[in-house]
Symmetry: C2
Subunit: 440 residues, 2 copies
């Protein structure tokens, strides 16, 4: 598929975590962006605009030409922490603190999930991602090869990690899944991870560290999500979760933590030294009353950040616009400082920051040679007007309603409220309703 977008505003990445907007065309050849620049009268790449990029190459035959009519093309959002298949528990058990919610509601229901269930529940989550302009997810759930297959089958990009803990999984199985998922498709990859310190024995964690070193992989885990998690870890080991996992040799190839709410003073140094990324999950942290991430401090320290929705059982939706607004404004209210953390910084976290955390460096921004993971934003809606500042409009006023089109790897998967993923939405909803009813 070759696609020509024209009459577009195009959001490109400038230096220093800042964005610029240029007007013109963006061309996609196969799965890759091959041209960004001014309009050409001759759409078949013979003109001056395509020089340098297209010089000497065959004219492109367009499968599709899309008039963006003053709307915005921007990189797709990267959802840097989620448990996609938890869609079945949306609005099922809310209004509980994390420990009760997890042990009394979530774990017993999850124990009844089959691989087939997880496949369909993943597709429901992927549909929701597409409506929010999310083009890839960093997913931790049961059956990573099944999760990955749901992505590959629908055309969605996924990075899987393991949720290994004392109640399920082995280091050997993780190694197997690492190879299966990394080799499955150019849309699927796998990075080493485990659930969390509070659910995982030291022996298992040592096994994870050993595997990460063997495979030269970063390591990811839920880290410092709740106050009690950190207090209990310190009681058990005399160290914070960050200190403990570092001491076990987890981070030779980097990695990072999900949530990172109750990070302590020495932890910031470890994040910097090991070049770890802090993924914030603000909606989930509010809803489970876990706390508010020290986003300003991470930014001030120069520590990389990304944004995730967490799973739909705790959020309860998969909407990066809501997460961006929360990441920004919770930083402001936490510090009682309305000036802190700019809109550009937030948008960077939600796009390039996530891509770097997920080792998707070729999907981080709109530039020639990058993968065509992009979205079209409808600026001709009241919440995007007037156009005083498009980046601020996106971060402070943007909504799923503004997502007109979502393209992953050069393929349009969602456009004008319709899905192009090879499945009928009604069939997917029926699967989800049947699965949760079966468990009641």
């Amino acid at each position: 598929m070759n696609t020509r977008f024209y009459n577009a505003k195009i959001l490109t990445l400038a230096d220093d975590h800042k964005f610029a907007i240029t007007e013109g065309e963006l061309w996609v050849k196969g799965d890759t962006i091959c041209y960004i620049g001014r309009a050409e009268e001759d759409a078949f790449a013979g003109g001056a605009a395509a020089e340098g990029v297209m010089a000497g190459s065959e004219p492109i035959i367009w499968d599709r030409e899309i008039d963006v009519r003053g709307n915005l093309l921007m990189p797709g959002f990267k959802n840097a922490h989620t448990h996609t298949a938890m869609t079945f528990l949306r609005s099922y058990a809310d209004d509980l603190p994390l420990q009760d919610w997890l042990y009394q509601q979530v774990f017993p229901k999850e124990g009844q999930l089959t691989e087939d269930d997880v496949y369909w529940l993943n597709i429901l989550g992927i549909m929701e991602y597409l409506t929010s302009g999310i083009t890839s997810n960093f997913d931790m759930y049961f059956f990573p090869p099944v999760d990955a297959k749901a992505s590959a089958d629908t055309g969605f990009r996924t990075v899987q990690t393991s949720g290994l803990n004392n109640f399920g999984g082995t280091v050997e199985l993780m190694e197997e899944n690492y190879h299966i998922v990394n080799e499955m498709s150019d849309l699927t990859s796998f990075i080493i991870g485990f659930h969390a310190e509070y659910t995982t024995s030291k022996e298992l964690m040592e096994g994870v560290a050993g595997l990460a070193q063997k495979l030269k992989s970063p390591v990811w885990l839920h880290n410092s999500e709740t106050k009690s998690e950190v207090a209990e870890c310190k009681e058990r080991w005399g160290m914070t979760p960050t200190q403990l996992t570092d001491s076990l040799g987890m981070y030779e190839y980097g990695g990072g933590g999900y949530h990172c709410v109750w990070v302590e003073e020495p932890d910031f140094e470890i994040f910097k030294k090991r070049k770890l990324t802090a993924v914030t999950n603000p909606a989930s942290n509010l809803k489970l009353a876990s706390g508010i991430c020290p986003t300003k401090r991470f930014v001030d320290e120069g520590i990389s950040m990304a944004i995730g929705t967490d799973g739909p059982a705790s959020n309860n939706c998969l909407d990066m616009f809501r997460e961006m607004f929360l990441t920004s404004t919770l930083a402001k209210v936490r510090e009682m400082d309305a000036e802190c953390v700019s809109a550009d910084e937030i948008l960077y976290m939600a796009t390039a920051g996530g891509a770097h955390a997920m080792q998707l460096d070729d999907c981080d921004s709109l530039a020639v040679g990058k993968k065509a993971d992009l979205i079209m934003i409808d600026l001709q809606q009241p919440n995007m007007q007037p156009e005083n500042n498009i980046v601020k409009n996106l971060v402070y006023s943007g909504s799923k309603q503004n997502v007109k089109l979502t393209m992953v790897n050069g393929r349009v998967l969602y456009e004008d409220n319709r899905f192009e993923i090879g499945f009928d939405p009604k069939e997917i909803y029926a699967h989800a309703n049947r699965i949760i009813r079966r468990m009641q």
Copy 2:
């Protein structure tokens, strides 16, 4: 216009701030809901289902019959505090603390606004309300008769209050506007109010209290929005803003406060004694780093609450789904208690709670005899599936993207992303962009 909705799930109000869902039909005759109940084969009101309601009356001739196909009809949201025409300042001056933002950025620009500007900027805001399923606003801005005319002309319901303060307005002008707006249209009304204690002299406040008593009107103001506002009021008067305004005789006919973040112990007693409503504006309070409203305490005390977006310059959008999620989850994180404040309570605030604050008791819920201010929610979207709990899906996962139709006073003003307000959206956007560019 007579409209028959069929094949619908219908959200009705049960006792105790709780909602119920029934399946069937909802009929609108003119501006009023005339039937809610089971489906009839004969749509012309001759059948048994319509007995009691329609007995003895003429058969209804439907102008339109809408197949809701398992989607949801629910009452429209009431935006209980806003400054609609501030749309021109969206994303213009962000990331500033309230006092700097207000005095250095907002006031100088507002000084340049003409009545004509305010008319067009109101319509932009009304369009945004409709996309979010908001069917009425409680608006405080310059030129209330102009604000009200923009509502009447587009078919939108508005309750205006005055923004009187030391820099603009008089009590006499407020009295004049009270009559003009209350008599303009059945879509427009006016309740007494002023900007805030920190911008208004004691003499003016005494005038407001006198006018409220004369007209038997409630009184509204920005109350205890920031910590410094309350501290400075106590320094000036030895009383909190709530105590001071009560001592001036403001609340003989009730009323309430916008924001209500830094409410102190004696204030809760005054809210209860005077039956005042606390309107929370969570997005604005986060973005201006003002603080987090003690929502749980208000609810526990049995004090009425409603939800508002505040103006688009400080939010920066007009989205009641975002406000509902924030009201709920900020209460949870403030109290570090994931169980506090139920989803039903939040939805009640956003609908009936707002209606009662705005003296729109005939618009508070879907019931026979109530005004047809209602919306259709698309449940056939991934963020609304599975249907474990529709109220929780609305509050925790709902989005503007789910709003398929917005009806005010029996007229469809928005449907499937199209506006039926008598104006071309492009024309409205052009007005807004021209106004802010003129000021630069």
